[in-house]
C-alpha cells in the first residue's frame, strides 16, 4: 500500500495523535482490502451512534479518541442514535438511556461529526454526485449512494468512517474501483413489484440469493420496472435497504435505471458469473411476518422518510385519524421543513408523529413497552425480531394506513393478504 508524503506525515503525527490513529486504521484496512493507495473522500457518514448498539465500551473509545483533539476535515454525518432529542419524554424513553445517548453524540461532536442523526444523509445534507468517492457506513445509505446516485463507497464500520473523517481519505479498493463494481449475479425478476414494500420484499430475496457470492454480492436486476411516479425514489431506497440487510449488498445495478446500468448495461451483465430468478415475492412476505399479537405501533420511515414520502403519507390518510399510534421516522432537517410548512401538524392531527434522530431498528423498544410493530419496511421486518425481540406485521403502506385508521385488522383485507396463506399466520396477529 502506497502512502503519499502527506499521508505518511499524518501517520507520523503531523496532524495530532487522533489523526495518526485514524491513518493507522486506514492503512491496515487498505492492506486487508488490497488497496494500492488512498483516495480523497467528499463526505463521511458514521454508524455506531446508538448507545444501544455500541454500549459503554464504544462510548469510552469515542470519548478517548475525541480527547486526542483531531477533528473531521471533510463533511461528516452521524447515523441515527437511540432517542429523539426533542420528543424522547413523550415517546416514553428512559432518561438514563437518553443521557448515555447524549454522551455518545457529544463525543462524536468532539470529533467534528455533524449531528444529522439520519440514515438518509442524501435527504438531509448535500446529495453526492455521480462518481464521488465517499466513506459511508450505514448499510442502506451505502447501497443508495452506490446504486441510485452512482457515487463510490465501501461498507465502512463506525471507526473506519471516523478515521476517514479525520484524514479525508479512505483506502481505494472494492467499490471504489471499476472492477470492484461489476455485478456477480444477474437476477431475473418474473413478477410485478408495484409498490415500495414489494421493492423491499424483492431486495430481501435478492440479498438472500447473493449472500454467499465471493467478494460480496452485486446483483444486476432485470425484468422489473421501477415506478415512474412520486414513489420511485422510496422504491429504490427500500430495494437497496433490504438487500443490504439480508445479504450485506453494498451496490445493485437495475437495468435501464441505475446510472451505471443505464450507461453500460450489456457489458456489466456479461461480467456476472451466474443467473438466478425471482418468480414470486410470497416467500419474503411469509418470512418477514413475525407478529405475535396486535401491533402496538405502526412504523414508517425505515430508512428515514423524505419530504415527498411524508406528502404521500398525508395523502393516504386523507384527513382521517389513526386509532393506533403511527410513528414516521425522518431526519430532523426534514422534520423541521415539515413543521414549517404545516405538514407535520396535519399529520399529527391524523395521529402520525414525526420522530427524528433515531429509528425503529435502534430505539430501545423493549424499554418503551413495544412488542409488535406494523411496518412497510422489509429492512425493519428483517431486523426487529432478531435485534429487538419484536414481532412484525409486514405490509404495504397503503394497507397499514387503512388498518391504522380502521383499528385493524392488520395484514387484513388488502393486497398483501392474498400472498399470505392463512395457515402461516400466527394466531392473534390480526384484529
Amino acid at each position: 500500500m502506497n502512502l503519499s508524503k502527506d499521508e505518511t506525515a499524518i501517520l507520523a503525527g503531523s496532524r495530532g495523535s487522533g489523526a495518526a490513529r485514524a491513518m493507522e486504521i486506514l492503512a491496515a484496512l487498505g492492506r486487508i482490502g488490497g488497496a494500492e493507495d488512498m483516495v480523497e473522500v467528499e463526505s463521511v457518514q458514521v454508524s455506531g451512534v446508538s448507545f444501544r448498539n455500541i454500549g459503554i465500551h464504544g462510548l469510552r473509545f469515542l470519548q478517548e479518541w475525541a480527547g486526542q483533539g483531531s477533528k473531521a476535515v471533510v463533511p461528516a454525518y452521524m447515523n441515527p442514535g437511540g432517542a429523539d432529542r426533542r420528543l424522547w419524554k413523550a415517546l416514553g424513553l428512559p432518561e438514563d438511556f437518553v443521557d448515555k445517548q447524549e454522551r455518545v453524540i457529544k463525543a462524536l461532536l468532539g470529533l467534528g461529526i455533524k449531528p444529522t442523526l439520519t440514515c438518509t444523509p442524501y435527504h438531509a445534507a448535500p446529495r453526492p454526485k455521480l462518481g464521488d468517492h465517499l466513506a459511508w457506513s450505514e448499510s442502506s445509505a451505502v447501497c443508495y449512494a452506490n446504486s441510485v446516485i452512482g457515487a463510490r463507497t465501501n461498507r465502512e464500520g463506525g471507526p473506519s468512517a471516523i478515521a476517514a473523517a479525520l484524514t479525508g481519505r479512505t483506502p481505494r479498493h472494492t467499490l471504489h474501483t471499476d472492477a470492484g463494481r461489476l455485478p456477480t449475479t444477474v437476477v431475473e425478476v418474473g413478477c410485478p413489484v408495484p409498490n415500495v414494500s414489494d421493492a423491499g420484499a424483492l431486495g430481501y430475496l435478492t440479498g438472500q440469493l447473493l449472500a454467499h457470492d465471493p467478494r460480496g454480492g452485486i446483483p444486476f436486476l432485470r425484468g422489473v420496472e421501477a415506478p415512474a411516479d412520486v414513489t420511485r425514489e422510496a422504491w429504490l431506497k427500500a430495494l437497496g435497504a433490504a438487500m443490504a440487510a439480508s445479504g450485506s449488498v453494498g451496490l445493485f445495478h437495475l437495468e435501464g435505471v441505475t446510472p451505471e446500468a443505464a450507461a453500460s448495461g450489456p457489458e456489466l451483465m456479461a461480467a456476472a458469473a451466474r443467473r438466478v430468478k425471482v418468480e414470486s415475492l410470497e416467500q419474503a412476505r411469509r418470512e418477514l411476518f413475525s407478529a405475535k399479537g396486535r401491533p402496538d405501533v405502526v412504523a414508517f420511515g425505515c430508512p428515514h422518510a423524505s419530504l415527498d414520502e411524508l406528502k404521500r403519507l398525508e395523502a393516504l390518510f386523507g384527513g382521517r385519524r389513526a386509532s393506533v399510534p403511527v410513528w414516521v421516522f425522518t431526519a430532523e432537517a426534514v422534520r423541521r421543513k415539515a413543521e414549517k410548512s404545516g405538514m407535520a401538524g396535519r399529520l399529527a392531527a391524523c395521529g402520525a408523529t414525526l420522530v427524528a434522530d433515531t429509528c425503529i431498528v435502534v430505539a430501545p423498544l423493549a424499554e418503551m413497552g413495544i412488542k409488535n410493530v406494523a411496518t412497510d419496511s422489509a429492512k425493519a421486518a428483517f431486523y426487529l425480531p432478531s435485534h429487538q425481540g419484536v414481532g412484525v406485521c409486514f405490509e404495504s403502506q397503503e394497507a397499514a394506513v387503512e388498518a391504522a385508521v380502521a383499528g385493524g385488522p392488520f395484514f387484513g383485507s388488502k393486497a398483501p393478504e392474498e400472498a399470505a396463506p392463512q395457515s402461516s399466520r400466527p394466531a392473534g396477529s390480526g384484529a
Partner: protein, 125 residues
C-alpha cells in the same frame, strides 16, 4: 514465520488457538477475558496475556470495541495471529493497541507454545 503486519508492537505469550472463527461481541466478556460460546473450542478459556491464534473474526462489527474494552480492563490478549484478518479484528487490534499479524500458516502454531509476535512476524520464544 513472516506474515503481514496488521497492528504494530511486540509481545510474547503462550498460544491459545482456535480453528473456528471468534465472535468477540456477545461471547468475549471484557470484565473477565473469558470466551463463552457453547460448542466452541475456546468456550470457557481466558484470553488474557495469550497469543490468540485464530482464522478470522465473525459476527457484529461492534466486536472491535470489545478488543478495546479488554485493553481497558487489563484482560487483553498479548497479541493476535490470524490466517486472514478481517476488518473487525484489524480495527479492534489497532484501537486496543494489541499487536496483530495475519497471512500466517496457523497449523504450525500449537496450543501452549511460547511465541513472540513483533511487527508482522511470529517466532518461537
Amino acid at each position: 514465520m513472516k506474515g503481514r503486519l496488521i497492528s504494530k508492537g511486540a509481545a510474547r505469550g503462550p498460544v491459545l488457538k482456535s480453528e473456528a472463527p471468534l465472535g468477540f461481541f456477545g461471547h468475549l466478556d471484557p470484565e473477565t477475558g473469558v470466551y463463552k460460546e457453547a460448542g466452541h473450542p475456546l468456550d470457557g478459556r481466558c484470553v488474557k496475556g495469550a497469543v490468540l491464534v485464530f482464522p478470522r473474526a465473525k459476527g457484529s462489527t461492534v466486536g472491535s470495541y470489545i478488543l478495546y474494552a479488554l485493553r481497558q480492563t487489563g484482560n487483553a490478549p498479548a497479541a493476535m495471529v490470524l490466517r486472514e484478518c478481517d476488518t473487525i479484528t484489524a480495527v479492534g487490534a489497532i484501537i486496543g493497541g494489541i499487536p496483530a499479524v495475519d497471512q500466517v500458516d496457523i497449523s504450525k502454531l500449537h496450543d501452549g507454545a511460547e511465541v513472540m509476535v513483533a511487527d508482522g512476524s511470529v517466532t518461537e520464544a
